[in-house]
């Protein structure tokens, strides 16, 4: 497999990082406005999916409340901005607030096992929507809050369009969140999460408290959801109770599974799925978007049960099978649904979405 070793070489890694950074800097300047806005939206929901991945993909706790934290972050941002708070303070509050709420909920919810957590988290968007309507003084009621705080600031030395500036903001924040999360799940915490996901009894016997690691994962997911909420306001500039609608929580979950559970790249793909598929189905036939989206969901899950992130792996395996016994390892006509454990690259045997 000379290809793999090529990509493992340190200079290739550094060079590809440089290329990615350069592309990310240049792309907003070149693309048309609508493409920029679409990429920015993908960033927003990629972060939301990433948060969901921390608690669900990596730690195996079903959460149906992620959109609540996104909405909470968006509302905090909208409230802070309309009251002329410092934007850095607003950003910090937008993720600290959801994190604190997430922590409080997790302290109670993590005592429950398995699907009981899902039941508790279901309540969040269901409570959140009427709450946002009811607290009209703070949230603007069902008419929502509009803010335009993410236009190009006056101190910028270069002139650029608003959509370019917004995309830079999203890219910057998204990149930081993704890097930090990647480091987290590849380190000590990530291993602990994986063990908690795999078997709580084993985790306890190793001195890892399943309860606390569930709390940590849930709090982190809420925090990242809050960041997504801030970005939501940067890009969409409007929030209303509909933002937290329960259906969106399910869509986020579907996006996570389709992108690839317990995978960093999968979260990006999930965000892209969340944003692009409705746009795509709209082009095909605006009257049957729900039907087409359902069909796409089923097709992806049948063909790529490990999510879009497993596509290269599946292609490689198909190529090997095509070659026949040429390579030493004959994949004995394994159905695609069972990915070869040897091919798992992320380091844990929990690459595939196991639960839910």
């Amino acid at each position: 497999m000379s290809e793999t070793s090529f990509f493992r070489k340190p200079w290739v890694r550094w060079a590809s990082i440089v290329v990615i950074v350069v592309v990310l800097i240049v792309v907003p300047l070149v693309l048309p406005e609508f493409a920029n806005q679409t990429i920015a939206r993908i960033g927003v929901f990629a972060v939301a999916v990433l948060g969901l991945n921390v608690v669900m993909g990596y730690t195996g706790q079903v959460s149906l409340g992620q959109i609540f934290f996104v909405g909470l972050g968006a509302y905090i941002t909208a409230y802070g901005v309309t009251h002329d708070w410092n934007i850095v303070l607003v950003f910090v509050l937008a993720f600290v607030g959801p994190a604190v709420v997430g922590l409080l909920i997790a302290l109670a919810a993590a005592r429950l096992g398995g699907l009981a957590i899902a039941m508790v988290t279901i309540a969040l968007p269901i409570v959140g929507v009427p709450l946002a309507k009811r607290l009209g003084d703070v949230t603007g009621g069902s008419q929502g809050l509009s803010t335009q705080f993410s236009d190009v600031p006056d101190w910028m030395p270069v002139t650029m369009y608003d959509d370019q500036w917004q995309l830079y903001l999203v890219i910057l924040v998204t990149a930081i969140v993704f890097l930090l999360t990647r480091n987290l799940v590849h380190g000590r915490y990530g291993r602990a999460f994986a063990i908690v996901k795999g078997n709580e009894a084993v985790a306890s016997s190793m001195g890892i408290s399943p309860y606390w690691y569930k709390v940590i994962a849930f709090t982190l997911a809420s925090l990242i959801g809050g960041v997504a909420g801030f970005l939501y306001m940067v890009v969409i500039q409007y929030t209303s109770p509909e933002t937290m609608s329960f259906a969106h929580s399910i869509s986020l979950l579907a996006a996570m599974v389709i992108g690839g559970a317990a995978s960093i790249v999968g979260s990006l793909l999930g965000g892209a799925y969340y944003v692009l598929v409705p746009q795509l189905t709209n082009i095909v036939d605006p009257n049957s978007t729900a039907l087409l989206q359902g069909a796409i969901l089923l097709i992806v899950l049948f063909v790529l049960p490990g999510g879009l992130v497993s596509l290269p792996r599946v292609l490689t395996r198909l190529a090997h099978r095509r070659k026949g016994g040429g390579t030493g390892r004959t994949p004995q006509t394994t159905p695609i649904a069972e990915p070869d454990p040897a091919a798992v690259t992320e380091g844990t045997p929990t690459e595939r979405q196991g639960h839910a």
């Binding site: 240049v26 309507k133 969409i236 509909e242 746009q279 978007t289």
Partner: protein
């Protein structure tokens, strides 16, 4: 040596990346695709000498897909028929066909904004979309892009305030308009009435109640004896109805948007043998879906408001106009059933109002469009009830701000002049 080769390769990649970056930056967008401010004399996007394109973002999937689909079908039917006749004759002497680009937003504000971003450079104006949050989501963007967002289906008054929304105009009456119409009717009855109010605890309910109170302001014959609210998430209002029944009021103003609750409220009052005259908002007053199951005939009168005929009313399909409308829906909008939602007719009326505006437009620009849009007075669009009309000249009011009060007759509605 190996080391040196590696370094050289790395340098090569960095160099390649830089070249790529420079090349890409070189072809950076220079004004193309953006709304050029300097080219005011040229025509706006979405209009040529032979066509004009309108954009719609509305829920075509999800819980509000029924009315949402209607908001597209009506206007498609109207302009479909016009195009088949050759097109719309504009004020500048050119005849243009009107095309509709409709996208689904599933009642999600985020998707509505995405749809707007997608459409804004290829359509002349956005119109007819349903929903308050989904229209609010891109209101400010439309203002800064100077894209008309007109005759949208929301009762939110902000769209009709010219100072706040220079590029917007709502189409349907606001909640206040509806509540006020009933309040006035009651105040003009000349008889003494004890009124109780049960409203939804959000801006929907508040809008109705404040309109109603405006309507009865200064009327000494009307006494509001009790006001209660319920939450939109409540599954029962039995407790509230029981409490209100104890007041023995003879009129209930019930600002409710939830279908099952409206039915349950009607039934509970009958169980308690409390039979006041009943007011329901236009969207929870459908004869077949709510008043029939709620056995509304038991009450001395169930009132609602309307500004247009109902396509499901008896006799509609037999009238010439109605039959033409239904066949156009079938032919040009692929809408086969008799619409159960009023939005199909409203959207058809939006088409008719836009037609009026197009006939007055003398230059193919969005500015001129907005100017002419705000100059229509007393235009009676198809299927409007007697006593209502389209009037866009009054600031702070949507295109249709007049409603008439109607009384349930066991099958459909009759317009009433006075209460009782």
């Amino acid at each position: 040596m190996n080391m040196r080769r590696t370094t050289r390769k790395a340098a090569g990649i960095v160099a390649m990346a830089s070249v790529l970056a420079l090349a890409l930056a070189g072809c950076s967008r220079g004004g193309g695709g953006d709304d050029g401010d300097g080219t005011a004399a040229a025509s706006s996007p979405g209009i040529t000498d032979t066509t004009l394109t309108l954009g719609i973002t509305t829920p075509l999937s999800g819980a509000t897909a029924g009315p949402g689909t209607c908001t597209v079908a009506g206007i498609k039917a109207y302009f479909g028929a016009k195009n088949a006749d050759g097109g719309v004759k504009f004020g500048d002497g050119k005849t243009r066909k009107v095309e509709i680009k409709a996208l689904d937003d599933g009642y999600d504000p985020q998707k509505a904004k995405a749809n707007y971003d997608q459409l804004k450079d290829s359509v002349f104006a956005m119109t007819a979309g349903l929903g308050t949050p989904t229209n609010r989501a891109w209101r400010e963007a439309a203002i800064s892009d100077k894209v008309p967002q007109v005759l949208v289906m929301t009762g939110d008054p902000i769209f009709s305030n010219k100072d706040d929304s220079p590029w917007q105009l709502g189409f349907v009456p606001t909640y206040m308009n509806e509540g006020e119409a009933f309040g006035k009717l009651l105040a003009d009855s000349g008889e003494d009435h004890k009124v109780v109010i049960l409203s939804q605890n959000d801006d929907y309910g508040e809008g109705y109640v404040s309109g109603f109170k405006d309507g009865i302001k200064g009327a000494s014959n009307i006494q509001v004896v009790k006001e209660l609210t319920y939450e939109a998430t409540d599954t029962s209002v039995d407790a509230q109805i029981t409490e209100l029944a104890s007041t023995k009021a003879d009129v209930i103003f019930n600002a409710m948007s939830i279908t099952p609750l409206a039915i349950a409220a009607l039934q509970k009052a009958q169980q308690l043998n409390w039979k006041p005259s009943w007011f329901l908002p236009s969207n929870t007053a459908r004869p077949g879906a709510i008043l029939g199951p709620g056995k509304a005939s038991a009450f001395p009168g169930v009132y609602s408001v309307a500004f247009s005929q109902s396509a499901s009313a008896p006799g509609f399909a037999d009238s010439d106009e109605g039959a033409k409308f239904l066949s156009e829906l079938k032919e040009y909008a692929d809408y086969k059933d008799t619409p159960a939602f009023p939005h199909c007719i409203w959207s058809y009326q939006v088409g008719a109002v836009l037609d009026q505006v197009f006939q007055k437009m003398t230059s193919p620009t969005r500015d001129d469009f907005m100017k002419e849009l705000r100059s229509i007075s007393d235009y009676v669009a198809p299927f409007m009830l007697e006593g209502t009309s389209v009037n866009t000249t009054e600031d702070g009011q949507p295109a249709v701000s007049t409603v008439v009060v109607q009384k349930y007759n066991g099958k459909g509605y009759d317009t009433v002049e006075k209460f009782g």
